[in-house]
C-alpha cells in the first residue's frame, strides 16, 4: 500500500512525541486501543487556567497511519481550547492525511484519544473541586 506524503512526513518526523507528568492536575491522559488489535495511542494534554491546551504529547504503538494520525492530532489541538479540540472529527484527519478505507480506524482512534484525554482532564478538575471543600471543612 502506498502512503500519502503527509503520512510519511508525520511518520518520519512525528510532532510532539513524549510524556507529560500524569500527576500534574492540569494534565489529561487518554490511552485508547489495545495491543491485541495492533494499535494503542496515548495522547496527553496540558491545559492552562483559561482552558487552553498549551501542550500536547503522544506515543503510539501502531502502523504508520496510526502514528501519523496521532501526531497530527497533537498538532491540531495545541493552542485550542478543550471545547474546540473536542469538535475535531476523525473525518478531518482522514481527509488531511488521505487515509485509505482500511486505515480509517486509525483516525477514529486519534479522535477517541483526544476525547479520552479531555475527559480525563475534566474528571481530574471535578475531583479537585470536590476535594477542596473537604480540605477546607477539615481546617475549619
Amino acid at each position: 500500500m502506498a502512503y500519502s506524503n503527509k503520512v510519511i512526513d508525520h511518520y518520519e518526523s512525528p510532532r510532539n512525541v513524549g510524556t507529560l507528568d500524569k500527576g500534574d492536575p492540569g494534565v489529561g491522559t487518554g490511552l485508547v486501543g489495545a495491543p491485541a488489535c495492533g494499535d494503542v495511542m496515548r495522547l496527553q494534554i496540558k491545559v492552562n487556567s483559561d482552558g487552553v491546551i498549551e501542550d500536547a504529547k503522544f506515543k503510539t504503538f501502531g502502523c504508520g497511519s496510526a502514528i501519523a494520525s496521532s501526531s497530527l492530532a497533537t498538532e491540531w489541538i495545541k493552542g485550542k481550547t478543550i471545547d474546540q479540540a473536542e469538535t475535531i472529527k476523525n473525518s478531518q484527519i482522514v481527509e488531511e492525511l488521505s487515509l485509505p478505507p482500511v486505515k480509517i480506524h486509525c483516525s477514529v482512534l486519534a479522535e477517541d484519544a483526544i476525547k479520552a484525554a479531555i475527559a480525563d482532564y475534566r474528571k481530574k478538575q471535578a475531583d479537585r473541586l470536590r476535594a477542596v471543600p473537604l480540605v477546607a471543612e477539615r481546617k475549619a
Partner: protein, 407 residues
C-alpha cells in the same frame, strides 16, 4: 561497498528467475515454440523432448522413480486443489474424511472448506508451539473413512519443517494417502517421496528461482497407484489428469530450476543458513524483547520470523521501507486479522502484530544481512521510543493487567 537498495528479503513470497534458468527458457518462446502435443512434425518433437527432460529433472528433485508421475500444472495452488479435490472425488466410496493442519497454506485450507461444504469431513490438527504437527496426532485422527492426509513440507510463514517421514510411516501403514505441499522446502531440506512414503506432492517453480505460472503435481503410480478425478477437462494432456496445452518455456524453466536445486541446493542451504544465523544474532544480541517464532531446529535455512515486542509490524516495515519483508500484522492484510499461523502456535495477538518475516535466498549477500540487521535494530529502538507500551513496560507495568478497550 554500499549495498544496492531496495533489498529483497522476501524469498518465501517468490524468487527471481535465475539467469541460468531464463537462458534455457528463452529459445522456447521464439525458436522452439512448438506444441508438445504435435506428434507429426519437428516443432512438436522438439517441444516434447524439452518437456520430457524437464519431467525427469523434477522427478529427480523429489526422488520420484518414474517421470510419468509428474503432472504439470499452473502452480502449487492448482496442484493442491487437484490433489485434494481429485482424490476426494475418486475415493468417495472408500471414505469422506481428510486430515490436515491448522497452519497449512490457504490453498489447502480453503480447498478443505470447499470439500466440507460438499459433505466431506476434515480434521484440522493443532500444532505445537514450535509449529510442528505431532505424528501421534495424525495416527489418532485416522478413521476407517480417512482417505487422505495433507501436511506441508515446510511452512511459508515460520519456516517450520514438518515430520513428513514419520507421518509417511503412519499413513502407509494405515493405507491412507499422504499429500504434501512442498513448495517452500524443495531443494532446501531433505525430501524424497520414496523414502518418506509420500503419494502426492505440490510443486511450484517460482519459489525456487523458476518462472511464475508453472507448477507440478507428483502423483504416485505404484505401491499404491494413486487415482484422481481431473478438475480440468479437455484434450487429455498429462495422462488425462490435467488438460491444456503445456507451457513449454515455463516447464523448461521449472526443469532447470529443479536441476539447479539438485546440484546446488545442499551447499546453498549451508550458505543461507549461515546468513540467517548472522542476521538473527546481530538483531537479537542488540535488542531485548525479541522473540523467534517457530522452531529453531526444524526450520528452513532461509527463514527468520521474529516478533519485536512493543513495536507494530507494519509500522516497522514502513521504517525499513528499503527492505522487502513481510509481517504477520493485521495491518498488512485486508482481513485485519493477525496471522492465523502465529495464532495456531499460541503466539498472542500482540506479538503476532509485532512479527516480521525475513526470507533469505540465493542472491542474499552478507552485506545485505549486515545492513538489514543494523537498520532493523536502529528502527526498532526508534519505534520503541515512540511506543506507549514500551514506556509502560520500562515502568514495570504489566500490560496484561491493563483493561484495554478492544476495538
Amino acid at each position: 561497498m554500499a549495498v544496492k537498495l531496495p533489498i529483497f528479503m522476501d524469498y518465501h513470497s517468490t524468487t527471481p528467475v535465475d539467469p541460468r534458468v531464463l537462458e534455457e527458457m528463452t529459445p522456447y518462446f521464439t525458436l522452439k515454440f512448438g506444441n508438445a502435443a504435435s506428434r507429426n512434425h519437428r516443432f512438436g518433437w522438439e517441444a516434447e523432448e524439452a518437456v520430457a527432460i524437464a519431467r525427469e529433472r523434477v522427478a529427480r528433485l523429489i526422488g520420484a522413480r518414474d517421470p510419468k508421475e509428474i503432472v504439470f500444472t499452473s502452480g502449487a495452488t492448482e496442484s493442491d486443489n487437484v490433489a485434494l479435490k481429485g482424490v476426494a472425488e475418486f475415493y468417495r466410496d472408500k471414505g469422506n474424511h481428510l486430515i490436515t493442519a491448522t497452519t497449512e497454506h490457504k490453498a489447502i485450507l480453503d480447498t478443505c472448506k470447499r470439500l466440507e461444504k460438499e459433505g466431506y469431513e476434515v480434521t484440522y490438527l493443532p500444532v505445537a508451539a514450535d509449529g510442528r504437527v505431532d505424528p501421534d496426532d495424525v495416527k489418532k485422527a485416522i478413521r476407517p473413512t480417512t482417505i487422505l492426509v495433507s501436511i506441508m513440507l515446510a511452512n511459508n510463514e515460520i519456516g517450520t519443517v514438518q515430520p513428513i517421514r514419520e507421518i509417511g510411516k503412519i499413513t502407509r501403514e494405515r493405507g491412507v494417502l499422504l499429500h504434501s505441499d512442498a513448495v517452500q522446502g524443495l531443494g532446501k531440506v531433505d525430501f524424497d517421496v520414496e523414502e518418506m512414503n509420500v503419494d502426492l506432492v505440490s510443486i511450484t517453480a517460482h519459489k525456487m528461482y523458476g518462472p511464475k505460472g508453472q507448477g507440478a503435481l507428483y502423483v504416485r503410480r505404484s505401491k499404491p497407484r494413486v487415482r484422481l478425478v481431473a478438475q480440468i477437462d479437455g484434450g487429455g494432456h498429462e495422462r488425462g489428469m490435467r488438460s491444456g496445452t503445456l507451457a513449454v518455456p515455463l516447464i523448461v524453466g521449472l526443469g532447470k530450476a529443479a536441476d539447479l536445486m539438485v546440484q546446488e541446493g545442499k551447499a546453498e542451504g549451508v550458505r543461507i543458513l549461515g546468513l540467517r544465523e548472522r542476521l538473527r544474532s546481530r538483531i537479537m544480541n542488540r535488542l531485548d524483547e525479541v522473540y523467534l517464532n517457530g522452531s529453531l531446529e526444524h526450520r528452513l535455512p532461509g527463514n527468520l520470523n521474529l516478533s519485536f515486542s512493543f513495536v507494530e509490524g507494519e509500522g516497522l516495515m514502513m521504517a525499513i521501507k528499503d527492505v522487502a519483508v513481510s509481517s504477520g500484522s493485521a495491518c498488512t492484510s485486508a482481513s485485519l486479522e493477525p496471522s492465523y499461523v502465529l495464532r495456531a502456535l499460541g503466539v498472542g495477538d500482540e506479538l503476532a502484530h509485532s512479527s516480521i518475516r525475513f526470507g533469505l535466498g540465493r542472491f542474499t549477500t552478507e552485506e545485505e544481512v549486515d545492513f538489514v540487521a543494523d537498520l532493523v535494530t536502529e528502527k526498532v529502538k526508534r519505534l520503541r521510543d515512540l511506543s506507549p507500551l514500551w514506556e509502560m513496560h520500562q515502568d514495570g507495568v504489566d500490560l496484561k493487567s491493563v483493561a484495554w478497550a478492544a476495538h
